[in-house]
Symmetry: C2
Subunit: 473 residues, 2 copies
């Protein structure tokens, strides 16, 4: 048995021990899902800039495609085409504020990944957990294809394909396919597939569940099989184009990149795409005929095809936008799939919030009015009616409010403000408002980045494993 296979087996055991309640065997979901040959195809890399504290430590791991930017330790883990980053890691001395308590960090924050198997997974990290401000931990966890772990320390979890755990400390949980949880904390729970669940203790709770049948068309997973559905087909159809990108170092494709903007050399940009001022195109973003207005961003694993984004748009990790015209400050949440066509074009008004894990897949032309909050499955005007509310209307809610399969409880205003605040934070962090001196963000700091490449052993018993590496300033 090869070392990679041995490693995967050991991870399975550790995750299963954690998941004895709820009883769940992750083995069939990950064993032999990725042939060992695949682990040698994509190198990992780490970025080098003067902007981020550097300390990388990798041991007994396979790191295909992973991208490291800040302090990070990886041990006994398989990161397969994962994005990791770490540009928002907190610095030594920073004050972490939580409910009035101010906790100064006594060292630079670090991402620690142990005994985990993360498949095509993002760990962007804007960690929220005041209990462990210096360590952002991912342990004993299996995350399936294109799941997002974001600012969410997880231990002992199985995270299904295209699922997202966001700003949530998750312990011993099974998160179903395409589910989104942002609940602060979650323990010993099994979250059914297609659950969109946002909760802030004492303030609000938002909950939506996809109908099983509707969801299965888009995402479906069975033990022992690679996930299927429209979302898998969509990304798989484009993955060959990333192979070319990984085969060259440096970004010199004759694209006009204005001041303040940055386009990752590990992104695909083609067709009649244009890049506005302060635009951020992250690694593994895919742009084909994408007109990116000023301050717009395309985060890791985004796809923007034949679409116009007017400016200051956030397309969160894994968001997919096809055949659409987005007004200013439209937010498209994690893993959302937003697809118009020539016959059924989509227009999204300024300031709209497309909730994480929304599926807008048009069968008729649709125009979403300004300032709308949209969730769930939307194929036409009737669906939109059932699966959206104006921010204004929701802000007036204080109590319970339900529409279609969605139930909201609590203060609508707090919910809307929390979203707006977060969108603003993302735009600022990404440098959307950079004016040449102030407002420096990820787009500007990433401009002069170089990437160091880590490849695994090409053959022998260690095939697919990387050497033990320690890197300091």
């Amino acid at each position: 048995m090869s070392r990679v296979q041995q490693l995967i087996d050991r991870i399975v055991d550790r995750v299963n021990i954690n998941l004895r309640e709820p009883a769940f065997d992750v083995g069939p979901y990950v064993r032999e899902i990725i042939p060992v040959d695949q682990f040698v195809k994509f190198y990992a890399f780490y970025g080098l800039t003067p902007h981020y504290p550097l300390h990388f430590s990798f041991a007994h791991s396979s790191l295909a495609g992973s991208y490291f930017l800040g302090r990070c330790t990886v041990e006994h883990a398989v990161l397969y085409k994962s994005d990791i980053r770490g540009d928002e890691l907190k610095r030594k001395g920073t004050l972490f504020e939580h409910k009035g308590i101010r906790i100064p960090l006594h060292e630079d924050e670090e991402i620690r990944i142990r005994d985990s198997f993360l498949i095509k997974t993002l760990v962007h990290n804007n960690s929220h957990d005041p209990e462990s401000p210096e360590e952002f931990q991912i342990r004993n966890t299996v995350a399936m294809h294109y799941a997002n772990i974001h600012g969410a320390p997880v231990e002992g979890c199985f995270i299904g394909p295209f699922a997202t755990v966001d700003l949530t400390t998750v312990h011993d949980c099974v998160i179903g396919a395409f589910s989104y949880v942002q609940t602060g904390e979650l323990n010993h729970r099994e979250v059914p597939a297609g659950t969109i669940w946002i909760r802030a203790d004492g303030a609000f709770e938002f909950r939506y569940n996809y109908a099983d049948e509707a969801l299965a068309r888009y995402v479906s997973v069975k033990p022992g099989e690679v996930p299927t559905g429209i979302l898998m087909d969509f990304v798989e159809a484009r993955k060959g184009e990333f192979q070319e990108v990984f085969e060259s170092v440096g970004c010199c494709r004759g694209l006009e990149i204005p001041e303040g903007a940055s386009v990752s050399p590990y992104s695909v940009v083609k067709g009649e795409s244009t890049i506005g001022r302060n635009v951020l195109v992250a690694q593994r973003a895919y742009l084909n005929g994408a007109r990116m207005g000023p301050g717009a961003n395309a985060q890791e694993n985004c796809y923007i095809v034949d679409s116009t984004l007017e400016g200051f748009n956030v397309t969160a990790h894994g968001g997919k936008i096809v055949g659409a015209h987005l007004g200013e400050k439209v937010f498209v949440g994690f893993n959302s799939f937003v697809r118009g066509t020539d016959r059924a074009p989509l227009k999204v008004g300024a300031g709209c919030i497309v909730m994480p894990h929304t599926l807008i897949d048009l069968e008729e032309p649709l125009e979403i009015p300004e300032g709308r909050i949209v969730w769930g499955l939307v194929r036409n005007a009737a669906d939109l009616e059932e699966n959206s509310v104006s921010a204004e209307e929701l802000s007036r809610v204080d109590g319970e409010f339900s529409r279609g399969r969605m139930v909201f409880k609590g203060k609508g205003e707090t919910f809307v403000q929390a979203f707006r605040h977060r969108i603003q934070h993302i735009l600022e962090e990404n440098g959307a408002y950079y004016d040449g001196t102030a407002g420096l963000g990820h787009a500007q700091k990433g401009q002069n980045m170089v990437f160091n490449i880590i490849q695994p052993y090409p053959d022998g018993d260690l095939k697919g494993m990387v050497p033990t590496i320690d890197i300091r300033p």
Copy 2:
């Protein structure tokens, strides 16, 4: 002052302390010779295969372009486009034999480079020093453009441009431009430019000196200036083509590479070049219209242009062959420049030995008969008469023999045998005789190699320096 400049200054001080006798100031030769911007242009890299013991440790250094393959530690050093390798490092337990004494290695041999500035320098390493079998040291040394340090532990030295120290322990010496020394040991000496000096204690001594004027056309160096001459012009004219090579990862240029052969992804191969069985094309080798017969090799920094090599040819590090037809087993030594033209083609008969640092630069057609040993400057038949001898004739010499500017003392047969033995060693090490099972060498072991890339800080105070890195299996 940037960290790289500080580092260079410190190296200059350390080398100068060593060179107080002979009194020599290396400062003007290296200060500001390479603009700091250059140090960020080329990444370094290390190869990963199951074939070589791995342990790399880099600290406080700039490593542009360097290539590591075996155990290597680099501290407080500048390696600028250096090749290093390390595939011939001895393993733990190996017996090192020297004059009947057998010394078992108690650990894997390691290359250690400290407080040195090596410009475009090779350190291939087939170390010969029984006093330090586990450590191959390069310390307090400045090596100028395209110098070769080969199997030669050096301490406190200035090595001029295109000079070679080969299988020689060198301590506190100044080696002039284009000089070649292979003398076992050398202490506190100043070797004038253009000296070809091969000595085996008690067996033989070969010595040739280029006339200053003749040499100056090919290689010349003045304090405070980049070296000049035909050899510099030749390599500088082609360096842009390597830039493209460094910008892509992996070797996929549609070249037909037969079994047992390997072509480094960091070589340039163009024109109507062909690659025979078991051919080795090393990194930074340049082939343009090169027909490489079976078992032929092009080592680091070789240039083979519009030439045919019939097979089992060794082109040692830095050898340049243009417009020539080489018979089987022709050896072209380190940094030799062998140039025919359309009007003055060159034919070199089988088994010829072109001595290291030979300049064959034709003004008329020339055919060198089989089995000839050639040295010095050869432009025509008259020069060849003065600067060559048949191996047979030299083998009969026992005592003193001089011809032109060359003086030989000792046993000719031992000299010829030593050369033939070394050529055979090189062919075997490079895998020229690989038959599909036996005879595995560098060509075959390198076939499935992957390269991990190390880039320096792109800007800031540390611009051009690489992080501190430790890599183990």
